[in-house]
């Protein structure tokens, strides 16, 4: 089922939570909605599911106007961040719920329901949990049951709100791979919300980056990683070092910067801001360098340094510890950025230190 969203707007009182969302999702695609807290991801997901309604805009699924349809008739599979498993039903009853509440004419026979639930339990690798209650399950197990409950109604659109948000790192990685398999096996169109970029990039066919109710960028994971389209996306994807530069005759000029390793698309002349990842900056000890090391700490694998540069600019960079043996506090260095992005005008950030 392809999903087409046009100019979707949602207000809560005075605040505009979604400000004109345009989005096209192909049938069978796995799309990640990535964005910081409060950017409207859940709201968008709820509107698609029919749990919330927009103030303006269109939502079309396979050429059908979904805003004219009740949530019950859309039959989307929705997985909630905190699972929302029915506490008084055991795993089997939870998974069977969507089948049991069908109108009598469409409801499968009890034996068929049992068969379908058994198949899902097996598919989700939770056969052993069939008679447990949600209170007796771990977070990862609950997540699988929640997905099973959503899949039981054969949804053609599957929506997951931060499906792995409450789980530890190892379980997240396992479930991530497993969700990809589930998606490929069911062939549903899947949208999942996350604010973990690694998760989005590893799992999704395409990533939609949202910020403050707008879509900032849509693209394949590598595309977005290599070419963030706006300063917002750049910052969100970890290009947290911002250096004021001047472009003159197509060349970037800035004090204390060696840009010979940097290849950037052509940029119009004038003042601009260079966005860099803390780990993409090479440090060359040089007595004439204009950046001075003021703090230095080790995380084991990495050295984290704070540098002070021209015009009171202070930045934080990281470098593998074995490459930083010759660095010390008080030393001056040249910066050799290896990758980055340049934007004409970047509004200054509220919080000016690296993540």
């Amino acid at each position: 089922m392809s999903i087409t969203i046009r100019n979707l707007t949602r207000r809560f009182g005075q605040t505009e939570v979604l400000r004109g969302i345009d989005l096209e999702i192909r049938s069978g695609e796995l799309v990640a909605l990535l964005g910081p807290s409060g950017s409207g991801k859940t709201t968008l997901l709820k509107i698609i599911a029919g749990l919330d309604w927009p103030d303006a805009g269109q939502l079309t699924v396979s050429n059908e106007d979904w805003l004219a349809k009740k949530a019950q008739e859309r039959r989307t599979g929705f997985v909630f961040q905190h699972y929302a498993l029915f506490p008084h039903m055991n795993v089997r009853e939870n998974i069977a719920f969507g089948l049991r509440v069908l109108p009598a004419a469409q409801r499968p026979a009890e034996a068929d329901i049992a068969g379908r639930v058994a198949k899902l339990l097996h598919f989700l690798q939770i056969d052993a949990l069939a008679y447990r209650f949600p209170a007796e399950l771990s977070g990862g197990q609950r997540q699988r049951v929640a997905l099973g409950r959503a899949l039981a109604i054969d949804p053609e659109v599957l929506l997951l709100d931060e499906p792995f948000g409450a789980l530890d790192a190892q379980v997240r990685r396992d479930l991530r791979r497993w969700l990809r398999e589930v998606h490929d096996a069911t062939g549903s169109t899947t949208i999942f919300v996350t604010h973990d970029q690694e998760e989005a990039f590893e799992l999704a066919d395409r990533v939609v980056v949202m910020g403050a109710g707008r879509i900032e960028q849509i693209g394949r994971p590598d595309e977005i990683y290599d070419n963030p389209a706006t300063p917002f996306v750049a910052r969100f994807l970890g290009l947290t070092v911002e250096l004021p530069v001047v472009v003159r005759g197509g060349r970037i000029e800035a004090e204390g910067l060696d840009i010979s390793a940097l290849t950037l698309p052509a940029h119009p002349d004038g003042p601009a801001t260079l966005f860099l990842r803390p780990a993409d900056i090479g440090l060359v000890p040089d007595p004439r360098g204009s950046y001075r090391v003021t703090e230095l700490s080790s995380t084991g694998a990495l050295l984290r340094l704070r540098l002070e540069g021209p015009a009171d600019c202070s930045i934080e960079v990281e470098t593998p510890r074995r490459l930083g043996q010759n660095l010390a506090v008080g030393q001056t260095v040249l910066l050799r950025p290896e990758a980055g992005q340049i934007f004409q005008q970047a509004a200054p950030r509220a919080i000016a230190h690296a993540a």
Partner: protein, 285 residues
């Protein structure tokens, strides 16, 4: 070292807060003096009578009639309170309307009002020339001096139990359960029956039980409206008072014991049902 022989210090360290001994001791003492002792005294008093005499008093026509009236009227009041109290809790939690806070405050009036005042007011309202009585009696419905009057008085004084038991649970119910049910295709009535009601059932049972127990023992409000005709509209607790006034201590304690027995039975059944409704809570949380 086996857990059984674990020294006291490791056993004690499992508790987060100290003071278990003190609080438990106080609770037990209080329970013993205020609750258990009177009950034991009552049972001993009953035992003095001897089984044959006890049985004779318990099955005397007037006792039987009083108990039957009390139970029937309490059941009627409880059924009404269960339905109406649930509805009221639902309206107070789920909707916003002008005057909601006032309505919420009014729920407690039956508890705050002295029961005699409630009884007087109700009998005035339902009397032949009262506001309600004037409407109902032409229709052939007589409330005062009938079992209906008894039930009305019982219901009035015990309805807050159901409302106040259900209300907080309904308020805390996460809307995500309903949203999940909606996406799975369930319509509102199904959601209420299969998702919401099971969640509030334990609290609802508590409210209904308390409402019934209070109705069984209600005295002040009932005696004003019931007419208190022996064999017809005489409730059990009133009969106990009458026996006492006749210096028939045995008769009074037999009736009191019967009421106690019914109340205990009710509590036991209610607890079983609650345990059943809560069996999903599991061992962990």
């Amino acid at each position: 070292m086996t857990p059984v022989n674990a020294p006291a210090s490791t056993r004690r360290s499992k508790r987060v807060l100290p003071g278990f001994g003190l609080t438990m001791g106080m609770t037990l003492t209080y329970l013993g003096v205020i609750v258990l002792l009177p009950v034991i005294a009552l049972v001993l008093k009953g035992a003095e009578i001897g089984p044959a005499r006890f049985f004779a008093i318990a099955t005397a026509p007037r006792t039987m009639a009083a108990l039957q009236l009390t139970l029937t009227a309490a059941a009627m009041a409880t059924v009404f309170n269960a339905v109406y109290g649930l509805l009221m809790a639902w309206v107070l939690v789920r909707y916003d309307f002008p005057g909601k806070r006032l309505l919420d405050a009014m729920v407690d009036i039956p508890f705050a009002l002295p029961t005699a005042v409630a009884g007087l007011a109700l009998s005035a309202l339902f009397a032949t020339n009262g506001w309600y009585g004037a409407l109902l009696e032409p229709l052939g419905i007589k409330v005062v001096f009938t079992i209906w009057g008894v039930a009305v008085a019982m219901s009035f004084t015990s309805i807050p139990f159901v409302i106040r038991a259900v209300q907080p649970v309904l308020e805390d119910l996460d809307p995500q359960y309903e949203q999940a049910a909606v996406t799975l295709g369930a319509h509102p009535f199904t959601i209420f029956c299969r998702v919401i009601f099971p969640a509030i059932l334990p609290a609802f049972l508590v409210g209904v039980t308390l409402s019934f127990a209070r109705s069984l023992g209600e005295f002040g409000a009932v005696v004003f409206i019931a007419g208190n005709l022996p064999m017809e509209t005489e409730i059990a607790s009133l009969l106990a008072v009458i026996r006492l006034e006749e210096y028939d201590y045995n008769g009074a304690s037999v009736i009191a014991l019967m009421l106690l027995l019914i109340a205990l039975l009710l509590l036991a059944v209610s607890n079983l049902m609650q345990a059943q409704a809560l069996r999903y809570k599991g061992g962990g949380s």
